[in-house]
């Protein structure tokens, strides 16, 4: 099935930068833990994007220097952050009202798998793990006006993450609109996965070989 290709996959900062390029000024955006958190670093300072953290911070700014951390100011990933001029604080019920009420233009989440119908699995690897943990993932996936997933195109042992049907427990049904991988940018369209962009040297055949569900080219 596999095809030999001469293409250098994106690393994590490059994936984050690719996502950042698609975020216009003025959007209200929540970034999940992992690669999504890196996205903020790649939005130019002069492009005003309002980053929300579900623990009640609106207007998250650049990461503080190690010696300038504010002990009272963390994000949902429990990392120290800063607040931009114009930022504000909310309590948890209001913060999740923001999420569920359609006030987020975009949420970017990491994922284990995304299915061809937009289902996303990102919170649990199945029944055998210790105490499972969901955090705000289901609220974000169900509530944001747009959900983009960022993930490696395949698992470390080569299994596809763009699947016909998720094998892991679901986070939300039919929620994902776009997928950014280390190999491509793929839209989740009504008729299936549509490849918008591939890294240099990648071919559709090679990308298909690394995907479980059928890939389409734009009409």
């Amino acid at each position: 099935m596999d095809a030999i290709i001469d293409a250098k996959p994106l690393n994590r900062p490059q994936m984050a930068a690719r996502v950042a390029a698609d975020i216009p000024e003025g959007w209200v955006v929540n970034l999940g833990i992992g690669i999504p958190t890196l996205v903020a670093d790649h939005v130019p300072e002069d492009r005003e994007v309002i980053f929300h953290s579900e623990n009640g911070v609106i207007g998250v700014g650049a990461a503080p220097a190690d010696d300038a951390r504010d002990p009272w100011l963390i994000n949902a990933g429990k990392q120290h952050i800063t607040l931009r001029a114009g930022g504000a604080y909310m309590h948890h019920a209001d913060s999740f009202a923001l999420i569920r009420g359609g006030h987020l233009d975009l949420c970017v989440l990491g994922a284990f798998e995304v299915a061809v119908n937009g289902d996303i699995a990102n919170w649990s690897t199945g029944a055998n793990e210790k105490a499972p943990a969901v955090g705000g993932a289901m609220d974000l996936a169900a509530g944001a006006r747009r959900l983009w997933a960022v993930m490696e195109h395949t698992t470390k042992d080569g299994r596809a993450r763009l699947v016909q049907r998720c094998s892991y427990p679901l986070t939300a049904l039919g929620a994902v609109k776009r997928i950014y991988t280390n190999l491509a940018v793929i839209d989740v369209a009504p008729h299936g996965f549509v490849v918008r962009e591939m890294i240099a040297g990648m071919t559709l055949d090679a990308l298909q070989a690394r995907s479980d569900a059928k890939l389409h080219l734009p009409a």
């Binding site: 000024e25 209200v28 923001l98 009420g101 006030h103």
Partner: protein
């Protein structure tokens, strides 16, 4: 640069369509977006559904919007007052629909919409005429009535202070329905008495974060009428 300020009430209302559901903040004379309401009465709009605690008095403000024939339906808790002649005439003649909702249920239906909830079970109104025909259900031996989220296409609100991101504060009892409605509409338009630079508002004291506000127009309208207040 994000800048939500517009230069006029007409610009603020651009794109509002006939048939829209319009949430209007304020309670009594306090925190009422008077300039936006005046602009609404002058806009070429029909068949509006208006959600507002009161239904206007005299011949100005919301009463004028109704007198101009722009309103098909009012959702409110307290339409009656000494000066609510326009509504009463339209209502008697069957030219306006009136949905009376308990004040707390209006607030909660708006809040549900703001939070993406479809419906909720509340104890208010159970066994009364205002719950007639509505679904009820028992929880832990008490009866509750099912009420649905009430979302606005547009919210018109008054703030005390705003910055260019649309962060808002209010003044005393001028808070009332304004923050709730700001969060419950697709297009939220604020008129503000004062304006400050971004970063000047205390992030701990911002009541409505700008993410809920789409347009802001600076109207130093002045103090609410100190005359005898009308209910």
């Amino acid at each position: 640069m994000i800048d939500k300020f517009v230069r006029s009430t007409a610009e603020a209302l651009a794109g509002v369509r006939s048939g829209a559901t319009i949430l209007i903040g304020g309670f009594g004379q306090v925190g009422t977006p008077n300039a936006l309401i005046e602009a609404l009465s002058e806009a070429d709009l029909r068949d509006l559904t208006v959600v507002c605690n009161n239904a206007g008095t005299g011949t100005h403000g919301l009463a004028r919007v109704m007198a101009e024939g722009r309103v098909a339906k009012i959702i409110c808790s307290y339409p009656r007052s000494a000066g609510s002649v326009v509504l009463e005439e339209l209502y008697r003649e069957g030219r306006i629909a009136l949905e009376i909702v308990p004040q707390g249920t209006i607030a909660e239906r708006l809040r549900a919409a703001s939070a993406g909830l479809a419906a909720f079970y509340t104890p208010t109104g159970v066994g009364t005429a205002l719950a007639e025909g509505k679904e009820t259900r028992e929880f832990d031996g008490r009866t509750y009535v099912l009420e649905h989220a009430l979302k606005g296409d547009v919210a018109l609100i008054e703030a005390w202070c705003a910055d260019r991101w649309g962060n808002l504060t209010y003044r005393r009892a001028g808070r009332n329905f304004n923050p709730v409605m700001a969060m419950a509409a697709d297009l939220t338009i604020a008129q503000t008495q004062t304006v400050v630079e971004l970063g000047a508002l205390d992030p701990e004291a911002i009541v409505t974060p700008g993410v809920f506000v789409d347009r802001v127009v600076h109207i130093p309208y002045g103090e609410p009428d100190l005359g005898k207040p009308l209910y």
